[in-house]
């Protein structure tokens, strides 16, 4: 399921309703070509996770997602033994002898995302989401897995990947990742899309939205990003908001409807307070003017 050029991959992604910019297409293409993980960073809501989903779709691959959090350990990321079943088995064989091989065989193994991804016969896209949330011990372990694509379970042995999964790591940069991990991966920074691309994304994701409304919503969000906000809205917020506006049956923006629906674009009270009254009216006017031109 390879792609012979960046253009080809880009077309396939568009067909899968994902509109990448050229940089992201290049990163994904190179990741497949060089068999290297790609690390995606960027503000929240720019479509890092979506990129992995879209890649899985176009590759016809299974998406396996590992959501990271502090304290994530081997038992939750790789495998765990099924203790209740093991205990039952020991009880059932009370009088006979239980051999270790029996108790630590594949049927008592609970397979977690990393093992699933390594030990899979079908093509896999492995999404390691928000790696910056995991602690350093886990990062070090992950580094090992990503360099050898094999996992050792003491009781069973070493399992090597028969086909290497495509690996996408995402980070919100709550801390710097270890250099060794970064060295293993291609790095791509996803910025906010251009207005044209954002309009295109909105129209793709919100079927039936009036063209004028899509353009005004994208222009308004762009104005918001220029303000000094605690959390500037990402593409995900633009899509949510456009859906809300469309559901309300609006054909264009006005101050009243923006006021009502602002909560789907801005997620902090102080941000909502900052975009009130005159500011809001001015932004709506500017967005309408920008969309009309």
């Amino acid at each position: 399921m390879g792609f012979s050029s960046i253009d080809e991959l880009e077309l396939a992604l568009r067909d899968a309703d994902y509109l990448p910019d050229r940089g992201l297409s290049t990163a994904l293409y190179l990741s497949l070509e060089l068999s290297k993980p790609v690390l995606l960073e960027g503000e929240a809501g720019v479509g890092k996770t979506e990129a992995a989903k879209a890649l899985a779709t176009v590759l016809g691959a299974r998406l396996i997602r590992l959501q990271c959090y502090e304290g994530l350990d081997v038992a939750h990321a790789v495998y765990e033994w099924n203790y209740p079943r093991q205990l039952l088995h020991i009880r059932a064989a009370q009088e006979g002898t239980v051999s270790e091989d029996e108790l630590f065989g594949p049927e008592y193994l609970i397979r977690r995302p990393l093992l699933e991804a390594i030990d899979s016969d079908e093509p896999v896209v492995l999404l390691i989401d928000e790696i910056d949330r995991a602690d350093e011990e886990f990062e070090a372990f992950l580094l090992e897995v990503l360099s050898d694509f094999q996992i050792t379970i003491p009781e069973i042995g070493t399992i090597s990947a028969r086909r290497r999964p495509a690996v996408i790591l995402t980070s919100n940069r709550t801390r710097e990742l270890h250099d060794a991990l970064k060295r293993r991966a291609l790095f791509h920074w996803i910025g906010h899309p251009s207005v044209e691309r954002e309009i295109e994304i909105v129209r793709l994701r919100v079927p039936g939205i009036p063209a004028r409304l899509a353009a005004e919503a994208a222009a308004f969000v762009r104005e918001l990003r220029g303000l000094d906000l605690a959390k500037p809205p990402g593409v995900a917020e633009t899509i949510d908001w456009a859906m809300a506006l469309n559901a309300l049956g609006r054909r264009e923006l006005d101050a009243a409807v923006v006021e009502q629906t602002l909560g789907s674009v801005l997620k902090y009270r102080e941000d909502i307070d900052a975009v009130r009254d005159e500011t809001l009216a001015r932004l709506v006017d500017e967005a309408r003017a920008a969309a009309a031109s």
Binding site: R22, Y29, G71
Partner: protein
Amino acid sequence: MAAGDAIVGHVVTFGRVLREAGLEIGPGRVADALRALDAVDLARQEDVYFSLRQTLVSRHDELDLFDRAYSAWFLRAPVLPPVRQRTAAETLTRVGESPTDRLRADETDEQPGDEPLELGASGHELLRDKDFAELTGDELRRVRELIGRIARTRPQRSSRRRTADARGDRLDVRRLIRHSLRTGGDPLERPYRARKDVPRKLVVLCDVSGSMDSYARALLLFLHAVVGTGRGVEAFAFGTRLSRLTPDLATRDPDAALQRCTDAVVDWGSGTRIGASLREFNDVYGRRALSRGAIVVIVSDGWEREDPELVGREMAKLARAAYAVVWVNPLKGNPEYQPLAGGMRAALPYVDRFLPGHNLRSLEELAAVLAGIERRHAA
């Protein structure tokens, strides 16, 4: 490999240009870049750009440096090579010697290395209470070791990760089953797991403006020692703007680290814009949750040149994200000091602990406070 020799030469040299500009480019990265160029259409400039960027750069804050180097090298654009600005030799001396040093050098010919480096307990005691502003370069060198010792105490927090611990609070079922096999399935031994303590994130923001000049040297030593205690420490300097010092302080040798800091900070000894610097911190690093759950230590005399109200607003934001905020003000060492400076007054409502930081003894106090700090303000 189809990449022609000319391209190999280009990329290797470009790698060197980036390395000189301060990026970490190993041979592995250059090899990746060549493989990447081999996979894309070299006629499309955009694809060449992204291939090089994605293989050679791994940090967002290096992108700008890369872009400038790329334009200079591949597009032959008339821009200056992106070599980090070296500051004048004059600013470098600021870390190494104090104003009193300079005075004394004029008066006598005494060699600074004459005194024995070992200090008795009484010597320590004297140094301990001496104001940093009055330390000679030589004394500062002796103080260095003490500062290192103080900085080593890091506040702890309980991690979400559990490790084997006989006094733990949660059964270790995996080991329980494994051990029970030896005794025919009866769990005679009961292994436990417990949460372990890990250092709490620590963020230090140090004012290096003119009014703090005489304290900056000692505080930089303190910063260096704190960064040396391991991961989860971030250090910043601010005057008119904010500079991240963590990478510069990571060098083991304090002199080299201080040198790199003076190279990195452009506004040594200029005015203070505390509010604007805090805003920059909140916007750029706070948004990345660098301050969330962290102990934030601000070292400044609170002399805001511009807008004290902005200081208050940004302090409020900071305090909401942080676990605790500590303000260290060297002026507080003077018993008659009152926090009248506008910036200081605006900041105080959001400060959990307000401490002096003018001598060794007060740094010890700081370390003790950090080790036992509790969250005081409402979340």
